[in-house]
């Protein structure tokens, strides 16, 4: 793969120097219309729920009404007897999963828990935990059948909060769970699945050098990715044992692996057809419905079965990311050097281990070069749905804590918050808390971009009197992963590119553009398709901000290989050596011989071997991303409501392949971060029932809640990619909560340490401050 240096001139130049002059590109950096665009503005694009067959059955899932209970028995006989019902399945229909840890997508999980999360085995662990499923001739009949299934529960007291879970006498959710205590297995039942520590230098000595220490505790609530398309899956189990699954997922190969493991079926018998996907943000990696659809299809007499979640099911039983409690302590010298940082991060895992506390701990201090650091992380199970990845998993929680404390330090030291960041900001070679040195990064460049921005330099009227400005930064490590793809030369001079990274936000365009640039042809000549798992080799999920980087590498390589193949074919036809063939400006020539690209394609088809090339890559030289953001707010001190007046983001994209989609990622990430910061949260009652499982009461931002979001794309090329791509999807959600908290402090002098900073919480803090001030002598 990509080993031929002759084919790789641009990569050869990538010596790690970000200041090298930018090459002039023909395709990269332009804003063409995406290949799937027309279908998406006409309603013709087919998403997972749009799958139709004449003999299609509709499935529904019965979910636990209790947050924690033992299942004594399940009686499905009445449901099975209802006319129109074709199959009923329960956890008993699943094979016993292996007690083995596997990474089948983004982050690992014990297969036993993965299976238990698909259909409960003897116990339910959250409100909405699937217990049984029905396939029937209509969705309404399937729903009626659910009400005929008798489940005998022994209801147990739920464990809803971190405090309850970590209490000495806490009820134990998973009897078999033992703490992974820095690699050692604990010896008693617990709800603490893991404890780890990162340590650099000597924290005690570090704090001893500090002239100023700030310590605060922060809390964040469970939040959901909030993709607009609910989970769905359609499966057909054929009479010959071949299985086809149509679903919208971030990773078709991940779905294949998970279904294979859960149902103990070889991957070769499963074909996953990725439909258009209506948003994922990390939440469409784990399987929920796919194995159930397969079971139902087989049991219903080999008919296709479609399951589609309601919005309530989506909120109750998929997604969410962890609520958390973070204690953050930081010390700085009088001249503005951060000398020590200590933190404890405690994250909700939901019902099964696996919160993103590990990546949260890395994000926490990554923007800074701090000599003495100690971070303790805890992964704690509670009776909530199992946490899954959400855009820069764990990062927003962490940065809310660290960037709030950084802001407070800067204020107390009388330093501009951006100058303070520039003074302490991480550069290439500086070590992160996990001990790894930063590769070439563009953090300081994002801070400078904000410092030089029109926004940061514009006066804010009413500042400090209800209006305020805040800044914050964020880090995300990004990812490379594995991709494979093929490209076919067509006789009319176009190329069909087959890849398998499901396209959530325009990656077909960004991949096709890199291919076009690499082959030196216009974007319009590339027909790109996302194909199913039988068409190309393994691909990692669309996640970790990896697709434009990783599958982009494959596209680059395809372009180089196709160029070489065409040169080879033309050399054969012309009877010259390949070295004599020159390719420039879409013209191949060798001496007297001269053909355009289109003529070459036709000539090759007529007179030579067909051209199809393949690329398989494992992108390991991915480049981290940084974002620095600036926000102006107005706080209504009579109601506690925050209005965002202006928002500017500076983000290091490495190289923006399609700038409009880079801007879109920046804006979208901030919008999600704003929702998380101001209004989104899971509200449970004391019995563990989710109270706000609707888009009315799970309050994601509407168009009226946001201003235009200004974007400054910073380009410090990643030397590990021929065009310098880093990956842009995730980091933009990391800073908003802290930026808003800092802006609110700037506006009204109230330091918010709990998310969401909704009107109820903010009003309470404002009234408390007013009460305190009125009792103090003037």
């Amino acid at each position: 793969m990509g080993a031929n240096p002759k084919l790789d001139p641009i990569r050869g130049e990538g010596s790690g120097n970000g200041s090298r002059p930018q090459p002039s590109y023909k395709v990269i950096g332009t804003r063409p219309i995406r290949p799937d665009g027309v279908d998406k503005v006409t309603g013709r694009a087919l998403y997972g729920a749009d799958v139709r067959f004449p003999d299609l059955l509709h499935g529904k899932v019965l979910r636990s009404p209790h947050a924690r209970a033992r299942i004594r028995s399940i009686d499905t006989s009445q449901a099975e007897a209802l006319p129109g019902v074709k199959a009923v399945v329960t956890g008993a229909d699943l094979p016993t999963a292996e007690d083995r840890f596997e990474d089948l997508g983004e982050g690992g999980i014990n297969l036993r828990y993965l299976s238990e999360n698909v259909l409960a085995h003897g116990r339910v662990l959250y409100h909405g935990h699937p217990v049984a499923a029905v396939a029937a001739v209509s969705p309404h009949i399937a729903e009626e059948a659910l009400s005929l299934i008798q489940v005998d529960y022994e209801v147990l007291p739920p464990v809803m909060t971190l405090e309850e879970a970590m209490a000495e006498d806490a009820p134990i959710l998973l009897e078999e769970l033992r703490t992974d205590e820095m690699g050692e297995r604990g010896n008693r039942p617990t709800n603490v699945a893991a404890h780890f520590r990162y340590e650099l230098g000597n924290v005690e000595e570090g704090f001893a050098q500090a002239d100023l220490v700030v310590e605060r505790e922060f809390r964040t609530q469970t939040v959901h990715q909030g993709y607009i398309e609910p989970q769905m899956a359609t499966a057909l189990y054929d009479q010959d044992g071949q299985i086809t699954i149509w679903t919208s997922t971030q990773g078709s190969f991940s779905v294949r692996s998970q279904v294979a493991e859960i149902l103990q079926i070889p991957v070769s018998r499963i074909r996953v057809v990725p439909m258009e996907i209506g948003g994922g943000f990390g939440g469409k990696i784990t399987v929920y419905l796919e194995p159930v659809a397969v079971l139902l299809s087989r049991k219903a007499g080999y008919r296709p079965v479609k399951l589609v979640m309601s919005r309530a099911e989506v909120l109750m039983a998929t997604g969410p990311t962890s609520g958390s409690r973070i204690r953050m302590k930081m010390g700085a010298t009088r001249d503005g050097r951060i000398v020590a940082a200590e933190a404890e991060l405690v994250y909700e895992a939901g019902a099964f281990p696996g919160s993103p506390v590990g990546s949260g701990a890395v994000v926490l201090l990554a923007p800074y070069n701090i000599p003495n650091v100690r971070i303790d992380g805890y992964d704690v199970v509670v009776n909530r749905p199992r946490a899954s990845a959400y855009r820069a998993p764990g990062g927003t929680n962490a940065a809310f804590a660290s960037e709030s404390v950084v802001d407070e330090l800067a204020r107390k030291l009388g330093l501009d918050p951006l100058e303070f960041r520039l003074k302490n900001g991480a550069k290439e070679g500086d070590r992160m808390a996990n001990g790894l040195p930063h590769p070439k990064i563009g953090y300081l460049e994002t801070v400078e971009a904000i410092r030089n921005s029109e926004h940061y330099n514009a006066p804010l009227e009413g500042r400090g009197r209800g209006r305020g400005r805040g800044v914050a930064s964020g880090y995300w490590g990004n990812w490379g992963g594995k991709s494979s793809a093929t490209a076919v030369l067509n006789a009319d001079g176009t190329v069909t590119l087959n890849e398998a990274s499901t396209d959530i936000g325009g990656t077909r365009a960004s991949i096709a553009m890199q291919f076009a640039e690499s082959l030196g042809i216009p974007y319009e000549k590339v027909k790109i398709r996302v194909v199913d798992t039988d068409c190309v080799s393994y691909n990692d999920v669309t996640g970790g901000s990896r697709t434009t980087f990783g599958t982009g590498l494959a596209a680059y390589e395809l372009g180089q290989k196709m160029k070489a193949a065409m040169i080879q074919r033309l050399a054969d036809i012309w009877g010259v050596s390949p070295e004599e063939v020159v390719y420039e400006e879409m013209v191949f020539s060798a001496g007297e011989n001269r053909v355009t690209f289109d003529e070459a394609a036709k000539l090759i088809e007529r007179r030579s071997t067909p051209v199809m090339v393949e690329a398989e890559v494992y992108g390991k030289k991915y480049g981290p991303a940084f974002s620095t953001q600036c926000v102006d707010v107005e706080v209504d001190v009579e109601t506690g409501k925050v209005t965002i007046l202006r928002y500017t983001i500076a983000q290091d994209a490495g190289k923006a392949i399609h700038p409009a989609y880079v801007e879109g990622q920046m804006q979208g990430g901030v919008a999600q971060g704003v929702g998380w910061a101001l209004n989104e949260e899971y509200v449970y009652d004391r019995e563990g029932h989710l109270l706000n499982a609707s888009l009315l009461d799970y309050r994601m931002p509407t168009a009226l809640d946001l201003p235009m979001i200004e974007t400054l794309i910073v380009e410090v090329p990643n030397p590990g990619h021929p065009y310098g791509v880093r990956g842009v999807g995730e980091v933009n959600i990391v800073p908003p909560a802290a930026a808003l908290a800092n802006a609110i402090y700037d506006a009204i002098g109230v330091r918010m340490t709990e998310l969401p900073m909704n009107p109820a919480r903010l009003l309470e803090a404002i009234l408390a401050k007013q009460a305190q001030e009125s009792t103090q002598p003037a």
Binding site: G43, E276, I504, E663
Partner: protein, 169 residues
Amino acid sequence: MPERKKRMITTTINGEEITFLCEPRQTLLEVLRDELGLTGSKEGCGNGNCGACNVLLDGVLVNACLVLAPEVEGRELVTIEGIAPGGELTLLQQKFLEHAALQCGICTPGFIVAAKALLDENPSPTEHDVRLWLAGNLCRCTGYDKIVRAVLDTAAALQAAQTTPTEVA
């Protein structure tokens, strides 16, 4: 117990008279998607909070998930599939593409139907007008910036196209 007997409904969808069978409990959205194959209208929430199923019912913007199928007897419906009468993309659809006003695209049909209804009623909306009108349509990918720009740009282009000939004359 009410009968599950289906009834026959005749209505006009995207200019064509159509007769379909439905149960009274089926929503318009279910019939459009499951019975008629018009899957461009999406279900994001099923209770009127996301706008992904927006259609025009006698010219009025409504959520198809909150209309019962038998209610549309004798009415006129326009769905995303019928938003471009001649088949060519409307300017609004083109502007969505040019402005990259979609990422995953699942909310896009609802936004386009809603934005069309806005521009039909108010050809020169302000940014606030657009944001207020589109507040019933949730998008989780874009942060709305590019959607709002696409709608404003469409309005400006339509206004310019209307005023130019007069000015020339």
